[in-house]
Symmetry: C2
Subunit: 127 residues, 2 copies
DNA sequence: CCGCACAATGACAAGGATTCTCAATAACGG
DNA sequence: CCGTTATTGAGAATCCTTGTCATTGTGCGG
């Protein structure tokens, strides 16, 4: 089961890398179309799922909307997210919080956490 | 446009109130069936959506899974969530974090935040 | 440089979740 | 008790995601 390098996967990674923010599958698909006009939506779903399973990208959930994804090396640089309720885009924000394990009941084991701030982004607030 | 009191809506609220944790639509439906055996899935979706729009319940997102919902008065008592990666249930946890607005870029306006811890719950850890 | 094996693709079918549609039901004011 | 009409339940329709499969094209060995 070797792994082969294709322009489709290359494109998807580039899109995610250049975006600098978590993107939905549809967003990735639209962006990838400009560099690989024949790419199929299935391929984007497949590739993103595989990257997620391999831990190369991380999923970000927003209530009522499809998941977004971002590169794991970004995710590894511990940070969190900001969801603009106006334009529905998601941004990365730096910084974190501590003492989380103290919030848990006895017997619970903490493995990770995800903080999503919400409000209005700079662009939307300006208008 | 008056609002009428029905046993279906009553049941859905009771289920959410008694659960004490965020539930998916399917979970609410299953639980509501015991008190109102004829209730339809459509009604549960409709009612939950309306309650969410009215701000009576709040949505909780988990990557790759349908949203969960909990009563707003619970949500108002500021708290957060713990997602067990073993049994996939979501629990409420007390406590919070501060200084979040300092994490935002200039021009961004913070209106709310959602913290989701993940790991293994007490029950699953015991086994 | 060529050809083969098979991983990856793209188009479409299939599946699951959620919303929509509409005739039938049942609150609630009169 | 009656009529109005909000609400319901069943199923169709829609959206998002995964599965299927013939075709394509990568990477290796010759």
């Amino acid at each position: 089961m070797e792994t082969r390098r294709t322009k489709q996967q290359q494109s998807i990674r580039e899109v995610l890398a250049e975006a600098g923010r978590p993107m939905s599958v549809q967003e990735v698909f639209d962006a990838a179309l400009t560099s690989v006009p024949t790419i199929g939506l299935s391929t984007v779903y497949r590739t993103i799922r595989r990257l997620a399973e391999q831990g190369e990208i991380a999923a970000v959930a927003v209530p009522g909307q499809p998941d977004r994804y971002e590169l794991a090396d970004v995710a590894a640089t511990h940070h969190h997210h900001f969801h603009c309720t106006e334009c529905d885009r998601v941004f990365d924000v730096r910084g974190c919080v501590g003492g989380l394990d103290r919030m848990l009941p006895p017997g619970f084991k903490l493995r990770g956490h995800e903080l999503t701030l919400s409000g209005v982004c700079g662009g939307c607030a300006a208008r």
